[in-house]
Structure formats: structure tokens, C-alpha cells
Symmetry: C2
Subunit: 534 residues, 2 copies
């Protein structure tokens, strides 16, 4: 057959009457469809593909309740869907305002890459009791997609994302510290982000929202601290993107941050991590429902979100864990895709008499596949797609090398000269033996040997981290982490030491949990934090 | 605002008049569109998203010439677009039949997971001269997406995918060996695959094509060898999926395979590699144009293919290479996405007088992003989407553990008892000193110490590999490979040794090229092959 001409192809396209084709295409074209049309009996059908159309039907038939209902947990009883009272309703965001506090910042705030944001909200929660001197505050920073709900509280009794690390006697000890956690600027769980209403036109910002930096996120958090009358943090603590914020807080406000905890983070996003996040943004932005970010009045890009989360999930754990957990096991019940006549035969055999094995499916079949599919499915209606794009981009942009920071035209702060803070239990006994022991302990890394194979950018990074040279820093990395590999943890520790910081504590953990170790390894991660903070 | 009801949402969906929305949606709905409609001036626009619609327009306006023209190389002068003369034209496949030979197998061939394939074609090319005894044959197996065109030849003078490794004095020395390379069964470059015509109904198989195994691919190649009168291979050589085929060849036909070369492959696909290939299949199958695999009369899922290739590319190189090659460099010319008034100001400043830095783009901006974008763009119209799905699935299914093989109901072959073949140069002098030296050399690994941390499935794998216990095997791995990590290379070598194979040569390479090292490192990869084959 000769190549088809334009008119013929167009005709073919427009004439397409295959129900299979219609059912797949329906998700972007036939908005009122309630279920996919049947596939012809002689053709395979793919439950994993039909799931996209079926999900869209469910969203439509339930008037988008799914992603309005639950911000952080499937069983959060405090959520409601009626928190917004002006402008079009924003999907995903706005858990019940009774489940967290909101700080309204009514003045313009400078941004790294854009003109000032005219105003913003910051959702936050707290645990523990603020001391009279307001000197026991820990600012806990979140990773990419977490809400302010790090742990259960009176306002919201559902389990939080760091439940096992926050409480009496835990890593962040609520009998000793007052812990604050915010939903980051750019997020969708109560803080201002792309799904929020732009006060200048009453519409959601969508992609008119300015590109953010991690520095912007931190600056907004310090506006909240100002509002709360908290001059100085006892510590800034974070994992993953939270670790970036933790380091940025110490850089922006060296006089206001007592100690820094950076777990599985980095001070300079690597091209390989950028690549993994780029792949996520790409599949999301290619979803026709994304619509250049202007989807808030219609269907969200739920398929793109699911695919993006599948990719992200691959980077959160490790191959060894999957081998232990799933190996090469397949789903127990075979997913029947293929309308071959052999499927009606319970024990099909070939003409030579060989019994055919279980027929593999092209849709998720191995348990590792059904796991990734499930993770994507769980996430795709719980988080705002534009928030994912903006916040993952902020992570990519994060680079504390001196050359990068100077290109931002920020004014580098002057390193503080005051000594690091004492833990509350020691603060009143400055010359006690335990005080001296404490100082000798945090200085243990002063004579750390220089790194064996330093990356070429290490001196540049050390120069950029100079404002942190007098702040005690805990760097903790995980050897099975493929997203923030242990080489990057060593890099941060080495750069800080090169910058003259003699108070760097550095730990590497083994285990197979990869990047997610910070959510799972209470004993080792929690232990290191407790030791460092005490 | 209260949640919207179904009718209201449907109305909103159907009423959408935003040109931006239309332009993005057009790729699946308005087939005859020639270019995207303009974006409103107050909204950002995203060149990377518009590229999908623009590509579709180009495909339509040029009557799909792009993916009909060139199978293996942009500059292949031997290709033509009129090679198919019956049934609907198949996109992508069928380079000019004059650029390769085709073996037509006219009898049914047994398949691992399905009823026999009634007939098939296998495209192949050869280099060097077949010896009178037909004892100098090397069967070269390809990776996932390669054609039979491994090197230039009289039939097709364009550069092949392993050009630097094939020729006089090269790793596969054409003055000594007769080299055969096929396009694998399931492929789209001349061999039968999902894009081929099903003889039972005259239509492309599409996803009615049976699920394939790597064993099926190899069995089809041995049908070709039978046809050529070649009883025994001097060696079976392959990298990546080619290494799987190379091992499978030795397993299926131990008496017909003299030596085995396995580079950056595996004998048991790991869940992490399955995860990466699953992510690729998922984005592809979610493209509405995929249409359950029945896209051959319409538009191919070019966007899904581009996204899939971006993900694949991440697994082909390594983080250290990207850091050396791209670092955090951004594209020199800023991609203007945002219609903010500041963009008309060449040096925008904030109210506080700070000069704003370069505004980052949400579309590809870092060089690592533009690199991945380019790789996806280059590939998306050069390969058949269904071939990618079927062949990547065959890779996932590959598992030579005894328990897996026994579940396939294949008859395990009996290990051969004859000695390994001699290189042609030594074959006539069985008692010469060089012959003895050769035997001592290939046996160097007989007393290899047992592995330190063997994976639990190692004994099962060793049992499965028993048919290879008398075949000399070269295993070569690369320490920076994240897709087939070096642990898997050690695993194959350890399992072979555990199976009693005393002729295992094992090498690990350093360097930063990751999985693609087998395409790039002529000196080390080529040197190891030459040494092993000589």
C-alpha cells in the first residue's frame, strides 16, 4: 500500500468506529461517559488502560469528591469539602481549616526568580509546648508532597507522615521541644500554591504562579516564625526536600538557626535526580487534561499523575528491597487480556502435547508492577499536579554552590560568630561537665580527613556553604538511596568541613529501604536525631 | 463553591473554548489540525507540550513519511517507503528489503507462552566469509530496539549500531569469523512482530500477537541457522537483551553453541529492571493513540513513545556521566514560557532593587532535560510501540532459575560432554603448546572462591544454568550500570561456577558510561571479547 495522504488519514481518523478506540479516547473527549464501551470479542483488552477511563467516570459520577475529601490520609475524619468560600473550588487542596492553623501573610514577599508574591497563606501544625523564652522551637520541613500533618494532634487525630518520630520520648521529643511543621509554599494542603486563588483576578493561579525556589519556601516559613514571635530556632530539621530547606534556613538566617539536621538531602541537585523528576513532569504535562496547567474547572490530569507517581516510587525504594519483598512473584490471579481460544481451555496444550504455562499479561502482572500501579493509583487524586511540577522544579533548582547562589543576586548572610545553642537541659549550666562533654562531642569531626575523590564542584559548594560554618549540622545518608545517593551526603559533609565547620556529624545507614528510610527506620534515623539534638 | 455535579462538569467540559485547551487536546481529537491554536496572551505557554501537537501535525501533513522512511539511520540511503505490497502499510518497519536478507520460515514454530506461530520472517545481515566447514560462525544478538544492521556492508553502507566492533582486526574479526545478526522476532525492522500482517486475517497482528519469550527469539534464530546449514556456532555473542539471548542459545542448544559472550546482561531479570521497563510500557499504553495496540491505520502513540524513551535513556547512562557531561548547565537561550510583564524588561528588578536572575522554564531547561527530550524525540517515530511493549516484556519474563524454567514446561537439554571448540587458528593443532596454553587460560576460574553474599536464588539459578556447565562463557559487567547492575553480572558468573562451569571468564569495567558502555568502550569491551574468542 502506498503512503496515505493527509485527507485519507484525516478521514480514517474521523471515521474511527472501533469501540475499543472510543473507550480509550473517551477520557479526553467524552467527558460525560460513564463507562468504557465493550472491546470486540476477537481483540485483547487491557484492564490497566481501561482503569484510566473508569477512574474518570468515577470522578465525574461522584462530582469530584475523591480529591476534595482527603488531604493526607484515607481515614482522616476531620476533613470536609466546604472550606473554600470564594471563587471556583480548588481540587485537592484545602483540608478542613479546623485540622491545621493558617498564617495569612498580607504583605508582598520577595521571590528568588520572580516579582514579589502579593500575599500568601501558610498552613501549619504544632506539637509540644512553646517555652516561655521561645527557645525550644524545632522547625520541621517536609518532603515534596507532604502536608503539615506530620503527627496526630488534638486538632487532627489521624496518623501523620512522621508519626513515629514525633512525641514524648521520640526523636523530636514533645516533652522538650515545640515543633512546627508547615505545608510548603507551592503546596496544595492549605498553603498558597498554583491551585490557590490569585487575588488579582479571582481565578486559580495555575501556571501563572511564579517559579519558586527552596529559599522562597524557607523565607515564607520565617515570616510565620516572625508572626509567632520566635526569633531563633533550636533546630531546623528535614529529610529529602526538607533537608534542602533545612540547609537553606541555616544559610538565609544563620543567626536564627541553632542546629541543622539534613537527612537524605543534598546541597546541589544532581543531573540524575533532575532527570528522574523531569520524567515525572514530562508525563504529567503530556496528559491532555493538564491543559497547560488550567484544569481546575475540569478534569484533573489524573492519568499523568498516576504515571508520574509510578516513576517517583521507583526512586523511593531500592532494588534489593524489591528483590526481598517481591522478587519475581506474579499476581496470583491471572489478568486475562487475550481473547485467544486457548483461554477457554483450562489446560491448553500445544500440538506437540506440551502444556502451556500461565500466560503473562502486558498490564501489571509481576508484583513489583502491581505495587507501582497501586502507588500511582493511590496518589493520583490526592495531590495537585501543578504543585508537583512547581515543587519538583524548585528541588531541581536547588544549588548552594557559591557560583549558583551569586547568580541569584541574593545577599549572602554573614556567618554568625556566637557559639551553637545548648540543649534546653544544659542551657542553664554553661560550665558543667556535661556541657563540656557536649562541646567535645559535637566537635568530633574537626580533624576529619579530606575526601578521597572530591567532585570538582566541592570547593565551590564549600564556599557557598560558608554561612553555615558555625552551625552544628547532622548529615545522615542511606547507602541504598538512589535518588539522593550517599555520595551526595558525603559531599555536603565534606563541603561543610571544607568551609571550616568543625561541628559536622555524619552518619551512613545500611539497609534496603532506599530514600524512604527516613520514614521507616525509627531506630537508626530517630536515634541519630535524638543524639544530635540532645 | 459547592462541589459541582455531573451535569455541570460535563457542561463545562463540553463548553471549553480556551484555545490553549483546544490546542493541547487537538492531538487526540482534531486529526486534521495543522498547527496549535494560539494561547491567550495572559497565559503561559509550554513549547514542550506544544511539540506533541506540532509533531502530530507534521506526521499528518507529510502523510506519515518520517517513520516509514528510515529504520536504522537518519542517513540510510538504501531505504525506501514502498517495500510492502499487500495489506495496510505498517508504520516504522520494513527498511528496504534490499538492505538485509529475509529468511521466511513457513512452518509453525513452538512458542513458550502461546500456541505456535504459523509462520515468520527473520531479517538478517552477515559480515565476513563462511568457512567451508561452516565452523567460524558468530551469532550476534541485539538489544531491545536494534535492527540487524550491526555494521556497514555492501548491501547497506550506512554505519551500524556496533560498527566499531565488527570488521577486520576488530572485536568480531571479519577476516576470521562469519558474523550473523538478526532483527529479533517481535521487532519491526524486517522480522515478524506485532506490526506484521497476521496471515489468518490480513491485518496487522497488533496486540493479538502472542506474548514472546527470549527463548522464542533464539529458537527463531536457530531456524535460520538450520536454513543456512550451520550446525554449530563458534560463539553466541550479545549485550543487554542480546546477552540474555546469548545465554538462552547456550541453554537451548548446548551442542550447537561453542562459546558464549554475555555483556551487561542477566540470567534473571530483577524487579528493579522490571520496574523501569514497566514505567515505559505504562506511559506508552496510556497514550490515547495507542488504542489497545490497534493504531496501525491511524496515528501512532508518538507522545507515549517519546516519554517511554526518555525514561529508558535515564537507565542507559549514569549519574556520574551526566555530572561530567552536563552538570547543572542550562540551555543558553532561555525558553520563554511566562507572559509576565517582566519579560519585556531586559533586566527586571524587584521593588527592592534586586535584579532578577534568569527565569527558569518548566519545560526542558537544564541540559540533562534537553538531552532526554532530544533522545525521546529522535526515537519516537523510529520504532514500533507494540514491538517495544512485547520485547521489553520478554526481557522481564527472562529467568533461567530452575524453578522458573520448569514452570515453562520446556524440556531441559542435556549438557554436552564434548570439549569446547578451538579457535580456527588452533583447531588444526590439538596438541600444540598454544592449544594447551589456551585450555589452561580458559580454565583459570575453576578454583574461583565462593561468592561472599550470594543472593538466595543463586542455587536455583545455578541449577537452571546446568546445561551451560561445559560451555566457555565470558561475563562482562560495568560498575556504573544501573539497569543491569554489576551484582547481576557477578550472579551469573557465580551461578555458572556453582553449576560446575570451570570456563567462566569474568570482567568488571569502571568508567561512567553505565549500561551503554557496550556501545562505546571499544578498547575494554572489544579487547575482552577478542581475547575470549581467540
Amino acid at each position: 500500500m502506498a503512503p496515505m495522504n493527509l485527507a485519507r488519514i484525516a478521514r480514517k481518523q474521523l471515521k474511527l468506529t472501533s469501540p475499543a478506540r472510543q473507550s480509550v479516547r473517551s477520557r479526553s473527549t467524552r467527558a460525560a461517559s460513564t463507562c468504557p464501551l465493550p472491546i470486540p470479542p476477537d481483540r485483547p483488552h487491557f484492564p490497566c488502560v481501561e482503569a484510566h477511563a473508569a477512574r474518570e467516570s468515577r470522578i465525574l459520577s461522584s462530582s469530584l469528591p475523591h480529591h476534595r475529601r482527603k488531604p493526607t490520609s484515607e481515614s482522616d475524619p476531620s476533613s470536609s469539602s466546604s472550606s473554600s468560600n470564594s471563587g471556583p473550588e480548588v481540587p485537592y487542596s484545602r483540608p478542613s481549616p479546623t485540622s491545621y492553623k493558617t498564617y495569612h501573610h498580607t504583605k508582598p514577599m520577595e521571590l528568588t526568580y520572580a516579582l514579589p508574591l502579593p500575599e500568601f497563606d501558610l498552613a501549619y501544625e504544632t506539637w509540644g509546648t512553646l517555652s516561655p523564652n521561645k527557645d525550644n522551637v524545632i522547625l520541621l520541613h517536609t518532603g515534596l508532597s507532604a502536608s503539615s500533618h506530620a503527627a496526630s494532634s488534638d486538632l487532627n487525630p489521624t496518623e501523620g507522615w512522621w508519626e513515629k518520630f514525633i512525641g514524648p520520648g521520640k526523636a523530636l521529643d514533645t516533652t522538650q521541644f515545640f515543633i512546627i511543621c508547615t505545608n510548603v509554599l507551592g503546596g496544595c494542603y492549605g498553603s498558597t500554591g498554583p491551585s490557590s486563588i490569585d487575588p488579582t483576578n479571582g481565578q486559580p493561579y495555575a501556571t501563572c504562579f511564579p517559579v519558586l525556589s527552596v529559599f522562597d519556601m524557607v523565607r515564607s516559613q520565617f515570616c510565620l516564625l516572625d508572626h509567632l514571635g520566635i526569633d531563633k530556632l533550636y533546630a531546623s530539621v528535614g529529610s529529602s526536600m526538607g533537608a534542602m530547606q533545612s540547609l537553606a534556613a541555616g544559610w538565609l538566617f544563620p543567626e536564627r538557626v541553632g542546629k541543622i539536621v539534613s537527612i537524605s538531602g543534598t546541597a546541589r541537585s544532581s543531573p540524575s535526580a533532575i532527570a528522574m523528576r523531569f520524567a515525572q513532569r514530562s508525563v504529567l504535562m503530556a496528559d491532555p487534561n493538564w491543559n497547560n496547567g488550567f484544569y481546575y474547572e475540569g478534569l484533573p490530569p489524573h492519568t499523568g499523575m498516576k504515571l508520574a507517581r509510578q516513576i517517583a516510587t521507583i526512586t523511593y525504594r531500592s532494588g534489593p528491597e524489591w528483590d526481598q519483598r517481591f522478587g519475581r512473584k506474579v499476581r496470583p490471579v491471572n489478568q486475562v487480556e487475550r481473547p485467544l481460544s486457548i483461554l477457554s481451555d483450562p489446560e491448553p496444550t500445544t500440538p506437540s502435547g506440551r502444556k502451556l504455562p500461565r500466560i503473562p499479561a502486558l498490564c501489571p502482572d509481576f508484583l513489583i508492577e502491581t505495587y507501582l500501579d497501586y502507588q500511582g493509583e493511590q496518589f493520583c487524586l490526592k495531590y495537585d499536579a501543578n504543585s508537583l511540577i512547581y515543587i519538583s522544579k524548585a528541588m531541581d533548582l536547588f544549588d548552594m554552590t557559591a557560583s549558583s547562589i551569586s547568580s541569584l543576586n541574593l545577599t549572602p548572610p554573614v556567618p554568625r560568630t556566637s557559639p551553637p545553642p545548648l540543649p534546653p537541659s544544659l542551657a542553664s549550666h554553661p560550665s558543667s561537665p556535661s556541657h563540656l562533654a557536649y562541646h567535645s562531642q559535637i566537635s568530633h569531626s574537626k580533624h576529619h580527613p579530606p575526601p578521597a575523590n572530591p567532585p570538582p564542584h566541592l570547593p565551590d559548594l564549600a564556599e557557598g556553604l560558608m554561612p553555615l560554618s558555625n552551625t552544628p549540622v547532622l548529615i545522615l545518608g542511606v547507602q541504598s538511596d538512589i535518588l539522593f545517593p550517599v555520595e551526595q551526603q558525603r559531599e555536603v559533609a565534606d563541603a561543610l568541613r571544607m568551609a571550616g565547620n568543625g561541628m559536622v556529624s555524619y552518619y551512613e545507614l545500611g539497609g534496603v529501604w532506599g530514600h524512604d528510610t527516613f520514614l521507616l527506620d525509627v531506630q537508626n534515623v530517630g536515634g541519630a536525631i535524638r543524639g544530635f539534638l540532645s
